[in-house]
Every structure is written in structure tokens, then in C-alpha cells.
């Protein structure tokens, strides 16, 4: 037992680990972007406070981070859309206890999470445009 970890659990993990990661990957990207924005702004405002003009480097850097985060989430959304594979059978219920339904369900859930994360990243970037001041 102990010397052979190729049990069914481990194999299933290998099979579906990509889906499991994908279901949290989009919100994790949101979280990473959020922490980056908050952390960078906090350090910036303590170490280099100043008038609005001096916010430009921070805004540009975080703007680029936002574009990157959106691109990652879009790519994740595309991957999970393919895994969901709605257009082959128009199944969005996945209510049977079979492997295919489980596979498509994880894709579907990951796809929806990508949408919410995408919106989350856009919201997070709004202050960069509309409230970019250290006051």
C-alpha cells in the first residue's frame, strides 16, 4: 500500500487535476491581481506620496497588470468553455452521475467563475481610472 500510491484517487487526480485547478484558477487570478493592486498602491502611497501627476507610473504598471490578468482569465474561460463543450449536446445541467457529466460540469463551473472573475478584475481596475489619488 504505502509503496504504491497509484491508487484510484491518485489517478483520478491526475485526470481531473487540471479541471480542479481551473475551477479556482480564474478567481485566484482575480485575487492575485487584487492583492497586487492593493499592495502596490499601499507601498506607493507611503513611500512616494504626492500630487496626481506622480501616480502615473503606478497607474501604468497596474494597468498593464490588469490587461495581463484579463488575458489570463479570458484564456481560462476559453479553455473551460471547450471543456464544457456546450455546443456538442447543449447540456448545461450535467445531472447524471457519469464521467462525462462530471467533466463538463467542472468546465461549466470554471467558465462561469471566469466570467465573474473577469468582471471582478474590471471592477478592481476602476479606481485606477477614477480614484487614482493617495489622499
Amino acid at each position: 500500500m504505502s509503496h504504491d500510491k497509484q491508487t484510484s484517487d491518485a489517478r483520478q487526480f491526475a485526470e481531473e487535476s487540471s479541471s480542479l485547478v481551473r475551477i479556482t484558477a480564474a478567481p485566484l487570478t482575480w485575487a492575485g491581481h487584487f492583492v497586487l493592486c492593493y499592495g502596490a498602491a499601499a507601498v506607493w502611497c507611503v513611500k512616494w506620496p504626492g500630487p496626481i501627476g506622480q501616480m502615473a507610473p503606478l497607474r501604468i504598471a497596474l494597468g498593464l497588470a490588469t490587461v495581463l490578468a484579463l488575458a489570463i482569465i479570458a484564456w481560462l474561460g476559453w479553455r473551460s468553455w471547450q471543456q464544457w463543450d456546450l455546443l456538442d449536446d447543449y447540456d448545461y445541467e450535467h445531472e447524471m452521475g457519469v464521467g462525462e457529466d462530471r467533466h463538463e460540469f467542472l468546465g461549466h463551473a470554471a467558465f462561469l467563475l471566469s466570467i465573474v472573475s473577469f468582471v471582478g478584475v474590471i471592477f478592481t481596475s476602476l479606481p485606477l481610472v477614477f480614484a487614482a489619488t493617495c489622499r
Binding site: 466570467i115 468582471v119 471592477f123 476602476l126 479606481p127 480614484a131 489619488t133 489622499r135
Partner: protein, 298 residues
């Protein structure tokens, strides 16, 4: 905050009315829908409609409304904090009263007062806030939002009053035993009147009354300052122009001789935990003289 007397308070109130109207509509729509499907139209509706409800109600509608709200409200923060041509005032929150120091343009020493904030109308003044021992929060609802006050840190806010008058403020962050008894009147004046008042406040007090001797004899000067006398304590509020203020004991008592006597003879009864000792050993003559002297400091 329903009778705003400041630019920021008015902007916030208008924002509130808009949000309230939206909220009422949404509340009735959602609860109406629930009532409709559980009581009135019980029976199978189309699956497609149900899914449209999830996507429309859960994603599209909030997306539009919330983006609009954010884009409208985010710039307000910067506006409400940007300093302008008005004066600077430092306010230090103590347990449970306010140290107020005015810094007119070019001044190298402040004009010190306490437990009352006066501001010129139609100017944006900047407040530099800090605290003595614990966290407090400065808030004049009629003029604008609140900002916390921390020991060892300066936070900033601005206020732009648009009407003259006296407006009540109160500490908004729980600060211990007498948190409830820590108010501050804010008096908004015409700029000329304000300038005169500030010039008066900058003067030392020169009042020779019998109570002056009582004040000095009882050692009040160990904690309180009355400029122009030997009393120069920094522990308690500056009393140089006490009689000119609108209220006593951080907005808790009216500025009357009776209230002053009640406060001096037993501060604990008015404000639990107050650090000022009780002077209940003073005889009636001394007490009357002391109260008259303090009331006379205008």
C-alpha cells in the same frame, strides 16, 4: 445628514436619494416576483424564461447598475479630500474631549482652543486629525463624512460648509467608558466674523476677578492653560476663552454658571471615567467666584 450645511454632505445626501429610489424599486421587483411565482402564478413557467432571469437578474442588471454607481462615486473621494484655500485646523481627540488648534496662513504657532470647532463658510478647510491615547473618529454629520483619529498618526479630511450656523458633531469610534459623552459643536461663520473671532482667540485673557485666585490656588493650572496667567497645563482643555464657547465638557453641558459648578464639583457624575478630579471641597463662595471667572473668559 438630512439637513446638509456643507458641500460634501449635500453631495452624499443626493447620492443617497438616488440609491434609495433604486433600492426601493429593486426590492419591490424582486419580492414581487417571488410572491408572483409562489402565490399568484403557481405552475410551470418556461425554462427559457427562468434562465433569462438568472442571467439578466444575476449578471447583466447588477453589472450595469454597479458600474454606473462606482464610476459616479469613486471620484467623489478625491474631491472630498483635496485641500483648498481654507485654513488648517489640527484636532486631537483626548478621552473624552477635543484639543483644537487653528493654523491660519503663515502662522508659526497655533491658536489653541478646545471642544468647539469654528470654520469660515464657503471655504474648504483641512482638518489634521490625531488622538492622544485611543482611537476616536471625527464627524459633523451636517458638514460631511467622518475620519478616524489615531494615536501616533495624522489623518486628514476637509470640510466645506455652505451655510452658517451651529452643527453638532460626535465621536463616532468607540473610545471607552464615556464614548457616548464626547460631542463637539461646529460653528460656521461668515469669513469676516471668523477672522475677528480668531484674532480675539489669539489674545491672552486678561480678566482680574476673584475667581482667578481660586483657580490658581486650587492648582487648576497644572492641567489647564489660561494664557495671560501662570496656568499653563497641557493635560486638560485650554480654557483661555472658555466663556466664549457654546457648550461645556465636550458638548455635553450648556455654557452656564450652574453647569460649570456641577461639572467642577463632580465631573464623574457628568462623564464617567473623566480624569478631572472632583472639587467638591470648595465652599460656595469660592465656587461661585470660580464659575463667574471662567464664564467671564470670553
Amino acid at each position: 445628514m438630512f439637513s446638509p450645511a456643507g458641500i460634501d454632505a449635500l453631495a452624499t445626501l443626493n447620492l443617497f436619494w438616488v440609491m434609495l429610489a433604486g433600492a426601493v424599486v429593486i426590492w419591490f421587483a424582486l419580492n414581487g416576483l417571488f410572491l408572483y411565482v409562489t402565490r399568484i402564478h403557481v405552475g410551470k413557467m418556461s425554462r427559457r424564461l427562468a434562465e433569462a432571469v438568472i442571467i439578466g437578474g444575476g449578471i447583466l442588471f447588477p453589472l450595469v447598475v454597479l458600474s454606473t454607481l462606482l464610476i459616479y462615486s469613486l471620484p467623489m473621494m478625491g474631491h472630498q479630500r483635496a485641500p483648498d484655500d481654507g485654513l488648517r485646523v489640527s484636532i486631537t481627540a483626548e478621552r473624552w474631549w477635543w484639543r483644537v488648534e487653528y493654523w491660519p496662513d503663515g502662522a508659526d504657532a497655533p491658536v489653541v482652543s478646545a471642544n468647539e470647532l469654528r470654520l469660515p463658510v464657503d471655504q474648504r478647510s483641512e482638518l489634521l486629525l490625531t488622538a492622544g491615547e485611543v482611537i476616536h473618529s471625527f464627524w459633523i454629520p451636517a458638514l460631511g463624512g467622518k475620519t478616524d483619529m489615531f494615536p501616533g498618526r495624522i489623518t486628514r479630511m476637509t470640510l466645506a460648509p455652505s451655510q452658517t450656523g451651529t452643527f453638532r458633531g460626535q465621536c463616532a469610534e468607540f473610545c471607552g467608558l464615556s464614548h457616548a459623552l464626547m460631542a463637539i459643536p461646529a460653528v460656521v461663520m461668515e469669513p469676516d466674523a471668523f477672522a475677528d473671532w480668531l484674532a480675539d482667540q489669539a489674545q491672552p485673557a486678561d480678566l482680574s476677578a476673584p475667581g482667578r485666585a481660586v483657580f490658581l490656588r486650587e492648582g487648576c493650572g497644572a492641567c489647564h492653560t489660561i494664557r495671560g496667567t501662570p496656568a499653563a497645563g497641557r493635560v486638560g482643555p485650554d480654557l483661555t476663552h472658555l466663556g466664549s464657547r457654546t457648550a461645556l465638557a465636550a458638548g455635553i453641558l450648556p455654557m452656564t454658571a450652574d453647569a460649570l459648578r456641577a461639572w467642577i464639583s463632580n465631573p464623574e457624575a457628568v462623564k464617567p471615567g473623566a480624569e478631572m478630579p472632583a472639587y467638591d471641597h470648595l465652599n460656595d463662595t469660592d465656587m461661585t467666584a470660580l464659575a463667574a471667572y471662567l464664564m467671564g473668559l470670553e
